[in-house]
């Protein structure tokens, strides 16, 4: 029988849960094979060397085999030395992981998004402006998981977005000019260009992307967003 073996695949762990007495089931985001579930046998024992590594936000190289949906992890290596995420950036990391789990289908490769994710974690580690880093990743995720967001053109009226006018988002998640619109044309263009320097733009981007993500998730709630808000409220 030929087993599908994969060696030293760059990956991050998104989430892990206990399985039986001493094993784990981990959700991994790999560079070339997308998101997948792996069974890590016997790693929760006292002498296990890989339990410390099988954690989110650590750059890893995973080796595994199997053809079924649940594959068997055979080896874990640290890809490179890393700085752990701390503080608020750590909670943002959980949010990224939940977004990836919600948007990407299993076994659907997204190497570009993997690179974006690595970059985003690096920005979070270096203490970049959290909000802007998150918004940028959300835009990348929407774009690269196949939805695409087009904010610079008003399809309904057939003309480009005017910085001085107001807009709301239509059913197709594209801007429609409206006098009582909640987004300014200026902000929409800035968001499209990933230009988050202005606090007003950032605030509008947050509300816009929240609306878009909720629409795309069809009402499925994001747990980490709720917990994150609760945490920020209490700090």
């Amino acid at each position: 029988m030929t087993e599908n073996r994969v060696f030293l695949q760059p990956a991050y762990i998104l989430q892990q849960r206990d399985y039986r007495e001493s094993s784990l089931i981990v959700e991994a985001f790999t560079r070339d094979f997308g998101r997948l579930s792996l069974l890590a046998k016997g790693v929760r024992k006292a002498k296990s060397k890989s339990q410390g590594l099988l954690q989110p936000f650590i750059p890893l190289r995973l080796s595994y085999l199997g053809k079924a949906e649940l594959k068997t992890l055979t080896d874990v290596e640290l890809a490179e030395p890393f700085q752990p995420l701390t503080g608020l950036a750590l909670y943002c990391g959980f949010y990224l992981n939940e977004l990836i789990e919600a948007f990407l289908h299993k076994d659907d490769p997204h190497p570009e998004l993997f690179a974006d994710y690595c970059q985003c974690l690096a920005d979070l580690r270096q203490g970049g402006p959290l909000e802007a880093v998150l918004r940028n990743f959300e835009l990348n995720l929407i774009e690269k998981s196949g939805y695409g967001l087009q904010l610079a053109y008003d399809m309904q009226h057939g003309k480009p977005v005017d910085p001085s006018k107001k807009y709301h988002l239509g059913a197709e998640l594209s801007p429609v000019e409206a006098t009582e619109g909640i987004y300014t044309g200026k902000s929409l263009l800035a968001i499209q260009a990933r230009n988050f320097g202005d606090p007003d733009v950032l605030a509008e981007a947050k509300s816009l992307l929240r609306h878009v993500l909720d629409q795309l998730l069809h009402g499925k709630p994001l747990n980490s967003r709720k917990v994150l808000n609760e945490i920020i409220k209490r700090l």
Binding site: Q15, R20, E21, K49, S50, G52, L53, Q55, P56, F57, I58, E77, L78, P81, F82, Q83, P84, T86, G87, L90, Y91, F94, Y95, N97, E98, E101, N223, S224, K226, V227, L228, E230, I231, R234, L235
Partner: protein, 198 residues
């Protein structure tokens, strides 16, 4: 006779124990019924009493049959130091292994944003009230050394700072008697980042 009648039900219910599969459950059931009926009765009675009477300590949330657990009720314990742990079993382990003479606070879990477990689910309102009123001077954060354990420790650390209470995190890194050669790279990296002057 499979899965039917009282015997089948007993076997089925024994499987709720961790690490007990169908085969072990079967062996347990037959052992109790054939060889140790007295033991089985005692087990059943104790189990019922335990379920009825054991609840959470009103101060530290560990498991106890009294309103206040033995540790919290002990006047010799240092009430100005509180150790935060994830599970009641961690209290036992720390009591056996260390010389910590303060009190505990049991979270019954850890912050886990992806599972929707936030500060409210961990009794942190109660902890905050204690930080505000109980004259606590030091918090020892002994949550597990996982990403979620770290997230929990950071958040409680921030709460402590807000209430001007000193917070410390237990050290992690190279185990006692451990040789560097056999330590995984993640742990070694952590040990290096957490090095201290001597």
């Amino acid at each position: 006779m499979r899965d039917t009648g009282l015997l089948g039900r007993l076997i089925q219910h024994l499987r709720c124990l961790p690490g007990v599969g169908p085969k072990t459950a079967q062996r347990m059931a037959f052992h109790l019924l054939q060889k140790d009926r007295e033991g089985a009765r005692a087990l059943a009675e104790t189990l019922l009493q335990a379920i009825d009477r054991i609840g959470q300590c009103s101060r530290c949330r560990t498991l106890t049959e009294k309103p206040l657990c033995d540790i919290c009720a002990d006047p010799a314990r240092d009430k100005s130091a509180v150790c935060i742990v994830e599970n009641p079993s961690d209290v036992w382990i720390i009591e056996q292994a260390t010389v910590f003479r303060g009190l505990y606070f049991v979270l019954h879990g850890r912050l886990s944003p992806l599972d929707g477990i936030g500060p409210g689910e961990l009794g942190l309102d109660q902890l905050e009230r204690q930080l505000a009123t109980n004259g606590i001077k030091e918090l020892v954060l002994a949550t597990n050394s996982t990403v979620e354990g770290e997230a929990t420790a950071f958040f409680i650390g921030e709460l402590a700072h807000k209430h001007h209470v000193q917070a410390s995190r237990i050290a992690h890194g190279v185990p006692m008697g451990g040789e560097l050669e056999f330590i995984d790279s993640g742990t070694l990296l952590h040990a290096f980042n957490g090095r201290r002057t001597i």
